[in-house]
């Protein structure tokens, strides 16, 4: 599954490169708050798997400093909501430094952890940070959907000499996925910055990331019964965005629907629409692009409210039909 793929990726990279180490809350003796780092402390010990106190700003700064001085840290946020306490270190100390120093000082670090909505954890624990981190030059921002994405992209992120924000999703951790032969190799990596067409289609392009790839594929299966063939693009990387992949698809289908869990204003979907407007694909659109997003409110707790705060499959189907005017 997704969780095991992340575990495998870290295990392989820890073994491959002495400089790689993991730090964060509960990553060592607790086996990881979500068990993503299970078994790693037992195997690698205190030096390479470090439990930190609950002090995000401090330990994130420490991780960034270690990266500046030659190590390759993986800094885990128990959830990305807590990264807000440390966001200055991510942006000002990590992301901008290679540029500010004109190449003298690099920061090879991965910030990873669950992002976005979980189940019943309410407003302070449910925010999606794809748009916030995706906004900043100097960062790479990655959002895997399935286990293969998780493994290949995390290995690439760890091997990357630049700061990478790696957005996982707690609801995906337990989801089982089949993994290809190829992905079993210790050198299996997926390039950062390249999207993947998960399903070919001719009538509409759906662009999405993380958990919503599943929703889009489910919606596509339903729509296929009505003769609507959806092309589903799994972004895999938020920054840099694979605009070419999106444009090629839109130029084929003439319709665009973006789907994300984050809030609508200044979101990932907004950026995709703007980019499509500015490029060659605009002239191929037969209708304005549509964004399907989380509801523009803090996340409520009650199940019925929470369910209706995030895109459901019926919302995606409805939006596709509206866009196609059927």
């Amino acid at each position: 599954g997704f969780r095991d793929a992340l575990n495998q990726a870290m295990d392989e990279e820890l073994e491959r490169d002495e400089r790689v180490f993991l730090l964060g809350e509960e990553v060592a003796q607790y086996d990881g708050a979500y068990k993503v780092s299970r078994g790693l402390w037992k195997k690698y010990g205190d030096k390479r798997i470090i439990d930190t106190p609950i002090t995000e700003m401090g330990f994130t700064g420490i991780a960034v400093g270690a990266a500046m001085a030659g190590l390759r840290p993986i800094c885990e946020f128990m959830t990305f909501n807590f990264s807000m306490q440390a966001i200055d270190q991510v942006i000002n100390s990590a992301a901008k430094t290679y540029y500010m120093s004109a190449g003298l000082q690099s920061v090879p670090i991965v910030f990873r952890g669950p992002n976005g909505a979980s189940a019943g954890v309410a407003a302070q624990h449910s925010q999606c940070f794809a748009a916030w981190y995706g906004h900043c030059p100097g960062l790479k921002v990655v959002s895997p959907w399935n286990a293969e994405d998780a493994k290949g992209l995390l290995k690439s992120a760890i091997r990357d000499d630049n700061p990478v924000v790696f957005l996982e999703n707690e609801l995906m951790y337990g989801v089982p996925f089949e993994m290809s032969e190829e992905s079993q190799s210790k050198d299996f990596t997926i390039p950062i910055g390249k999207a993947k067409v998960e399903r070919q289609g001719t009538h509409v392009t759906m662009v999405t990331h993380s958990r919503y790839v599943s929703h889009c594929l489910d919606a596509a299966a339903v729509l296929a019964k009505e003769g609507i063939e959806c092309e589903v693009i799994n972004l895999r990387t938020i920054r840099p965005l694979d605009v070419d992949c999106i444009e090629t698809s839109v130029m084929k289908t003439n319709h665009l629907v973006t789907v994300e869990g984050g809030w609508p204003q200044f979101g990932v979907g907004a950026e995709i629409c703007a980019r499509v407007m500015e490029g060659p694909a605009f002239n191929y659109l037969d209708a304005p692009a549509t964004r399907v997003t989380g509801v523009d409110i803090p996340m409520p707790y009650a199940k019925i409210l929470e369910d209706n705060s995030l895109p459901q499959i019926k919302d995606i189907i409805f939006s596709v039909k509206k866009t196609l005017n059927v």
């Binding site: 106190p53 401090g58 700064g61 420490i62 000002n92 190449g103 000082q105 030059p137 630049n162 490029g279």
Partner: protein, 408 residues
């Protein structure tokens, strides 16, 4: 003549102990005062005291049985070197002041004059292979960590010959084992603890000197860093440069406790006279030994003073008196302190210091010439250095038709 001086020195300069090397007395020796240049001095080599031991102010200690030694030995060569370094930083900062007033330097410019003994003393006690990180009042450290004056000034004037090719400016200069130059108050402290973690991890016996000011001393992230550094026994020397004012706010108005050397709580601390380069050196040596022996971090408070305001936009006299500034200048100037010590102990001649001053002025002037005549960075390089080791990247310009290129 030298015999008279010896008598004078012995009689008058109690309790300083003098050591003499007995050489052949040959008049008219040429003497290298500066690297690469020769200067004739009126005194011969054998006239000068080659080494002297000075009493230095005792450090206040926190959670330590004993502090650094109360005596420091200074050789003539060391003295001249420290003088040269401090005077260079002083002249460089004053030149930056001048260039800023001429609007050739823009934006932020936080000057270090008055605090030279801190940078010079620290560097004298650590190795080039050790690490150092500081905040935004960083020009002095950029120099002591090995960057040439002209590259510092050219970075301030925003030219391609600047140490960061004009992309960083005053607060973002870097060198091997020197991590800037950091603009966000306090952020450099966890970074420094992280660098120390890397030293420990790699087992290289190196230490990281992590500097911050009295203003930053109240930042929460410092205490987070102290906690982890102590827990994990990181080889980190946390140094508070207490110049009595965080921007326009005096220490009494900002801190419930102004005993910055105690603020590390469970971390041992030293309070040091930051105007005396020998005090700083001895304390830093003590601190480095502490860290290298695996005892964990240590906090040092350097009591120092800045002559300029917080930055070039602050005249520095609305929250402190001109009298106070003048008093420090006349009684505690770090460069004068060192010079007077050396002169009083016959370690060098007045003319030597004059020659050094002239040479430094010339060097700084030439560096300023370079910094004002070097071309600005080429626009083609605007987007470079976003990522390391990446293929060329397209970067969005100010409008959709402006696609710029970024190379690693």
């Amino acid at each position: 003549m030298s015999a008279c001086l010896l008598a004078f020195a012995t009689a008058v300069l109690e309790p300083v102990k003098l050591q003499w090397l007995f050489n052949d007395f040959i008049l008219g020796y040429f003497q290298d005062v500066l690297l690469g240049s020769r200067v004739v001095v009126s005194r011969s080599f054998a006239d000068f005291t080659p080494q002297a031991t000075f009493d230095i102010k005792k450090c206040d200690v926190h959670r330590l049985e004993e502090g650094p030694p109360v005596k420091a030995t200074l050789t003539r060569d060391q003295g001249l070197q420290y003088y040269r370094i401090m005077q260079t930083v002083r002249r460089m900062e004053l030149k930056a002041d001048q260039l800023y007033k001429q609007k050739i330097i823009r934006g932020f410019c936080h000057l270090y004059d008055g605090q030279e003994a801190c940078a010079a003393g620290i560097e004298a006690a650590i190795n080039p292979s050790d690490h150092l990180i500081t905040a935004y009042r960083a020009h002095g450290y950029t120099y002591t960590r090995g960057v040439a004056i002209k590259e510092i000034l050219a970075e301030l004037t925003g030219r391609k010959g600047g140490v960061a090719k004009g992309k960083g400016g005053s607060m973002h200069m870097y060198a091997p084992h020197f991590y800037g130059g950091n603009g966000i108050v306090g952020a450099q402290v966890p970074l420094g603890a992280g660098i120390a973690l890397a030293c420990q991890y790699q087992g290289n016996n190196q230490v990281c000197v992590t500097l911050y000011g009295d203003g930053a001393a109240n930042q929460g992230q410092l205490f987070e860093a102290f906690n982890m550094a102590a827990l994990w026994k990181l080889p980190c020397i946390f140094i508070c440069e207490n110049n009595k004012y965080g921007m326009g706010t005096s220490v009494e108005r900002a801190s419930a406790s102004t005993d910055y050397y105690k603020r590390g709580d469970f971390i041992p601390g030293l309070r040091v006279d930051g105007m005396d380069v020998l005090c700083v050196r001895e304390a830093t040596q003590f601190a480095a030994d502490h860290c290298r022996s695996g005892k964990g971090p240590i906090v040092m408070e350097l009591q120092t003073y800045r002559y300029h305001g917080h930055s070039m936009s602050d005249p520095g006299v609305s929250y402190r008196t001109r009298e106070e500034i003048q008093e420090v200048r006349s009684k505690s100037d770090p460069i004068s302190l060192l010079k007077d010590r050396m002169l009083s102990n016959n370690m060098a001649a007045v003319e030597e210091f004059k020659e050094i001053d002239i040479a430094i002025r010339k060097e700084v002037e030439e560096a300023a010439q370079y910094a004002t005549s070097d071309p600005e960075p080429p626009l083609e390089e605007l987007c470079n250095h976003i990522f390391k080791n990446d293929p060329p990247l397209e970067v969005r310009g100010t409008h959709p038709w402006a696609t710029l290129k970024s190379v690693s």
